[in-house]
């Protein structure tokens, strides 16, 4: 039984004369991995920013779990169960890895407006933090300052911080960006593991990763949806091949 977890309806975002996202309508099914691919400048990151609430749409609507979030703020959307990671690593460099994940984990308290007892005593937050670090295999770097770990580990930390918020739906913006083969493999395995219990929407350029992980693909060109389908359907699609002529990957 297919459940729609996130859908957009004629979602449009213009910046002056530039139409970054153009009447984009799509349904994301719960429980699968949905990848969005397309040439640079296609509007993928803009789309993600719209879904996460960091950009306000020019027109159209977005709903998450059948609830309208078109004009919702990022914090509200996060509390509803949507987590996102960034293309440009967006961690807290001067905090330890543990502290990075902690702030994600603490967000699930019913309120952080608590002033008296030390945060360190919150067992459930502690457990969420440790679990998040473990999921990305960064437990051994728990006490290390985030700026001191490798780039690949920082990307993993980025994901861990988001995981600490225990999201149902993960929006991942190029999680493999800039990674070497071994690190990339680690992340692919992580994504497969996460896909077991959560819905993933990811933007990626690394086609090996996309094929290994994705259930459905959407190809985005010039702010519009070119085609959506299974991996094989997209691979064999004439329209997609034409759009991608000259692009590496296929």
């Amino acid at each position: 039984m297919k459940q729609i977890i996130l859908e957009t309806n004629n979602l449009t975002k213009t910046f002056g004369a530039l139409m970054a996202v153009n009447n984009f309508s799509i349904e994301f099914t719960k429980g699968i991995v949905h990848a969005i691919i397309g040439p640079n400048g296609a509007g993928k990151t803009t789309l993600l920013n719209l879904l996460a609430g960091e950009l306000a749409p020019t027109s159209g609507s977005i709903s998450f779990k059948y609830r309208d979030i078109t004009h919702a703020q990022p914090d509200t959307i996060s509390q509803l169960g949507l987590g996102r990671s960034y293309q440009k690593t967006n961690i807290f460099p001067q905090f330890t890895c543990y502290q990075n994940c902690w702030i994600g984990a603490q967000s699930r308290l019913n309120t952080s407006m608590r002033f008296f007892r030390p945060a360190a005593k919150l067992i459930d937050v502690k457990e969420r933090t440790e679990k998040a670090l473990e999921m990305v295999n960064l437990s051994h770097q728990s006490g290390t300052i985030a700026s001191a770990i490798s780039y690949g580990e920082q990307r993993q930390l980025e994901i861990a911080t988001m995981l600490a918020t225990e999201p149902e739906l993960l929006l991942l913006d190029e999680p493999l960006a800039g990674m070497g083969a071994e690190e990339a493999q680690n992340v692919i395995e992580l994504l497969l593991e996460l896909a077991k219990n959560q819905t993933l929407i990811l933007i990626e350029h690394d086609m090996d990763a996309v094929f290994a992980v994705a259930d459905r693909l959407t190809v985005m060109v010039n702010g519009s949806e070119l085609e959506t389908g299974t991996v094989d359907e997209i691979r064999n699609s004439q329209a997609v091949q034409e759009a991608y002529l000259g692009e590496e990957g296929f």
């Binding site: 996060s78 543990y98 952080s112 407006m113």
Partner: protein
Amino acid sequence: MLNITRPLKLFLLILLLLVAISPLIASGFYIGLMTKMMIVAIFAMSLDLLVGFTGLISLGHAAFFGIGAYCLAGFFSQADHYTIWIALPVSMGGAALAALVIGWISIRTTGVYFLMITLAFSQMFYFFFFESKHFNGDDGVFMNTKPEIFLGSFQLLDLNHEISFFYFVLGLLVAVFLLLVMILKAPFGQVITSICANDQRVRALGYAIQRYKLVSFVIGGAIAGLAGFLEAAHTGFITPSFLSWHESGLILVIIILGGIGTLYGPIFGAFALVLLEDLLPELTDNWKLMLGVIIIMVVLFLPNGISSMGKKLIDRLKPKPITEPGSSKKTTVS
């Protein structure tokens, strides 16, 4: 994150003891000077909460200092007797209310806009008191008497004695310090420290960051109001200059010199600057020039303030911590 290591705790404790016994050896003038240092230290810590821990760089913090002072002046200047159990909450409450209003408007803005709007609001209040006939404008208000501290019919402290006032302020300094340490270790503190580091990320992780910033702003304003109350009670004379932007600038200078985001740095900065302001004029009439030069030197050569100098010394003394793999005992949320 707030990080007070064991050697530092020891150092601070020793300093506290030294300060605590100083009235027994020092003359009346120095006791008064040290009282002033401690009052400025409280003021400084309240700004450090905003600047160093929340990332709200305010150039109008003196407004709350002054409002705390003027609350005392406004309600109690003519009184023959009044109790601190009412006067103090009134002052802090007035300052907190002003911080709520100013904060609610200002926190929509960020960066330099925030800097300037806080400056402008404090100027607004400055001119309000300057031009107000009710408060005697530039001539200022004199307090008839100091607040009384009674429990039932038993007098706890007689603030008319310089030494009693000294210990009163010392007690409050320690209390404010411990209060802020507590808040910073609590979940609230975790959030604002993270906001200071990367506020957009904190928002994306599910926090209503404006609310947290506002609460921090109000707490900072209330504590500044406490400092203003103490200064008014101490000197017995309140003028609009309490709210001048020179004061706002100077308190910012103090916490930067002392080292922002440390909580103890501003205390050192306050002591240093009040001392400088007292000693320099004896060297030369144009001491402000020297102060300006000193400030510029510190900015250029000591970018992390005085406490970074001290920290480097302390770091050399203490043993290096071991970061063992998987050793989550070491990784406390400090």
